[in-house]
């Protein structure tokens, strides 16, 4: 279990996170939502050990993360960053291979290939990372994270995936594809925390939703508890958006309904 207790982050006099406490349990997928500047990425950076909170602390399975070094943390969690720019022309395979090497794979090349296959990028191995589209780059990075924690449970201990807006530049099909892999990782005993902007995807995939606004937790719990009209209005300033169909003349796409009819991707 990953536990963040009362973390407060103050940078240049601004409070980015204010007394935030969350618990990430194995087998569960947590989604952090909230408007821009709410502190979502800061929270993820605290949880992954990038920054040390001004107050409060984070523990992995009871151990304070700031007493652990980079190598030990890398064995317990992988992180998918937002868009990355490369100065040197690495291929997709070489990028993913770095994750496999971090895991300590005996055959990092093979492990990297299978991670690329998991995100649907077989055949992209020799492509230069910089020549890929934004969405393809994001999936290569996701494959790198998967190669770093290939199994949700390592020697009986759950591993964690932290994803910073993994669906940001993906098409609908791959948004669902990436989140289904993350969900399966959680189902098999792993820990997943992801930042999302799409509330429909959140509603479908989240086991726990954390609603952040101005650095504070506004609501925390199941989708039923958190995605209410009142909370959405309070956080985003948009009322009446939950659970109401728009006018018949306005088409809308509801990915959740693919389970009821039509082709399951």
């Amino acid at each position: 279990m990953i536990d963040a207790r009362n973390i407060t982050v103050i940078r240049q006099g601004r409070t980015l996170l204010d007394e935030v406490s969350i618990a990430l349990v194995p087998g569960s997928l947590t989604v952090v939502v909230g408007p821009n500047g709410a502190g979502k990425s800061t929270l993820l950076k605290c949880l992954s050990g990038d920054i040390k909170p001004s107050a409060g602390g984070v523990t992995y399975h009871g151990h304070d993360i700031h007493t652990q070094d980079a190598v030990s943390l890398a064995a317990q969690r992988a992180v998918l960053p937002q868009a990355t720019e490369l100065a040197f022309p690495f291929t997709a395979l070489e990028i993913v291979r770095m994750g496999a090497v971090a895991y300590g794979a005996t055959e990092p090349g093979l492990a990297a290939r299978s991670a690329l296959a998991r995100v649907g990028l077989s055949g992209f191995e020799a492509r230069s990372f910089s020549s890929l589209s934004g969405g393809e780059q994001q999936r290569v990075q996701f494959a790198r994270a998967l190669a770093q924690v290939p199994q949700p449970l390592e020697a009986g201990r759950p591993c964690a995936l932290f994803l910073d807006e993994p669906t940001a530049s993906l098409d609908l099909r791959h948004q669902i594809g990436v989140l289904e892999i993350a969900k399966a990782f959680a189902r098999s005993g792993g820990i997943v925390l992801t930042i999302l902007h799409d509330l429909n995807l959140t509603a479908e995939f989240a086991d726990q939703v954390v609603v952040l606004s101005h650095g504070r937790i506004i609501a925390k719990g199941s989708t039923q508890q958190t995605m209410t009209d009142d909370i959405i209005r309070e956080v985003y300033g948009i009322g009446g958006a939950v659970n109401r169909l728009p006018q018949a003349s306005v088409p809308f796409v509801l990915p959740q309904s693919r389970h009821i009819g039509g082709l399951d991707l």
């Binding site: 950076k45 992954s48 050990g49 990038d50 070094d69 980079a70 190598v71 943390l73 890398a74 064995a75 969690r77 992988a78 992180v79 960053p81 990355t84 490369l86 100065a87 040197f88 022309p89 690495f90 291929t91 997709a92 395979l93 070489e94 990028i95 770095m98 994750g99 090497v101 971090a102 090349g109 992209f124 191995e125 020799a126 492509r127 230069s128 910089s130 020549s131 770093q148």
Partner: protein, 364 residues
């Protein structure tokens, strides 16, 4: 021609794994290094028969005349060893620095690290007998080398502090601060030259042009530990430099001790630059040309780039030195002129490629 190079090689690795390509290139470079060494030992103002040389070096008979033996033993062997050490040091420190700054244009010569080393070397020459006499007494023969190392270290560290914000280095900030740091070192060097006497001036001229002509066994031995240090550090930082290409945060996520790697790289670059400047003066462009050409062929992974750069840099400097010695024989061109003549165009190619928004050596 440079653009045509990658397409010739890239078709060989359709599965995206360039490890075998890396190994192949390292083997080819080793062969080239042997050939270049043979050329360097046998050619010059007087040439030595290759077969005779081989028999002599392997200790099976002595077909060489006494004069040839003296030339090979006292002049060409130390000079060849020196070219190998200096070439390897320059190319590896260039490749490491480019990895550290995440920028293919970072070269110790261009961004002012070499001028820092030169400044301290000149300081050692000019003030070694007066103000710095106690230091000189303490360090003895190694004073110039160690001082040059310190100068390189200070400028690398300064540059990193100035040009890097949040782990990222902007190309124009890097080049501009490099120019500033280099100009500052140059100005201080100028001040020292102003107060130097005639004998000191002759020594200083040697640094400004760069030359291997003063190669002796003691000098080879003085640069050797620094190049060994560089070689030992190389495998320790290769994986880290690869990961750093994705950014400080991503490298940390993958279990890299980012600060430690950066400190090691700065130390290694300064050691290599300082030592090479102390023994051979400022020889430009090797640190940028060799890694750049190699990235086109084997990709940017430091696992292969660093060892290949070492061998490639040694080979290139041997060839450049052979050209410098023979093209106007019995006179000798300063080797810095030879490396600049083919290095500067490659640097321009890189700049033009960047301006057009293309990365170097795209596989597809």
């Amino acid at each position: 021609m440079l653009r045509a190079l990658p397409s010739v090689f890239s078709v060989a690795e359709p599965d995206g794994d360039r490890s075998r390509q890396g190994m192949r290139v390292i083997v080819i470079l080793l062969l080239l290094l042997v050939i270049a060494s043979a050329v360097s030992l046998s050619q010059g103002s007087s040439s030595v028969d290759l077969h005779h040389l081989w028999l002599y070096l392997t200790g099976r008979g002595s077909e060489l005349t006494l004069q040839e033996r003296v030339v090979v033993e006292a002049v060409r062997l130390p000079r060849t060893a020196m070219a190998i050490l200096v070439g390897a040091g320059l190319a590896v420190s260039g490749a490491m620095m480019q990895g550290l700054f995440r920028n293919p244009l970072a070269d110790p010569g261009i961004v002012g690290v070499t001028s820092g080393a030169a400044l301290f070397a000149v300081t050692a020459i000019v003030l070694g007998g007066s103000i710095l006499a106690p230091v000189s007494a303490l360090l003895g023969n190694q004073m110039i080398t160690l001082m040059a190392f310190m100068g390189g270290l200070i400028n690398t560290w300064l540059l990193y502090k100035i040009a890097t914000r949040g782990g990222y280095t902007n190309t124009s900030t890097l080049v501009l601060s490099g120019i500033a740091v280099g100009a500052m070192s140059g100005a201080l060097t100028g001040l020292l030259i102003f107060v130097a006497d005639d004998r000191q001036l002759r020594d200083i001229t040697f640094w400004s042009l760069g030359s291997l002509s003063g190669s002796t066994y003691p000098r080879v031995l003085s640069v050797l530990p620094f190049v060994i240090l560089l070689t030992v550090i190389t495998p320790m930082v290769a994986r880290g430099l690869d990961a750093l290409v994705l950014g400080d945060a991503a490298a940390f996520h993958m279990g890299i001790r980012v600060q430690r790697i950066k400190r090691l790289v700065i130390l290694a670059v300064a050691a290599a630059c300082g030592a090479t400047v102390a023994v051979a003066g400022s020889i430009g462009f090797v640190g940028i040309v060799v890694p750049h050409l190699l990235r086109l062929v084997i990709g940017p992974s430091h696992r292969f780039l660093l060892p290949a750069s070492a061998i490639g840099g040694a080979t290139l400097l041997l060839l450049a030195d052979s050209v410098a010695r023979t093209i106007a024989a019995p006179a000798e061109l300063p080797i810095g002129i030879v490396t600049a003549l083919f290095g500067a165009p490659v640097f321009l190619f890189l700049l033009i490629g960047k301006r057009n928004g293309r990365g170097s050596g795209d596989l597809s």
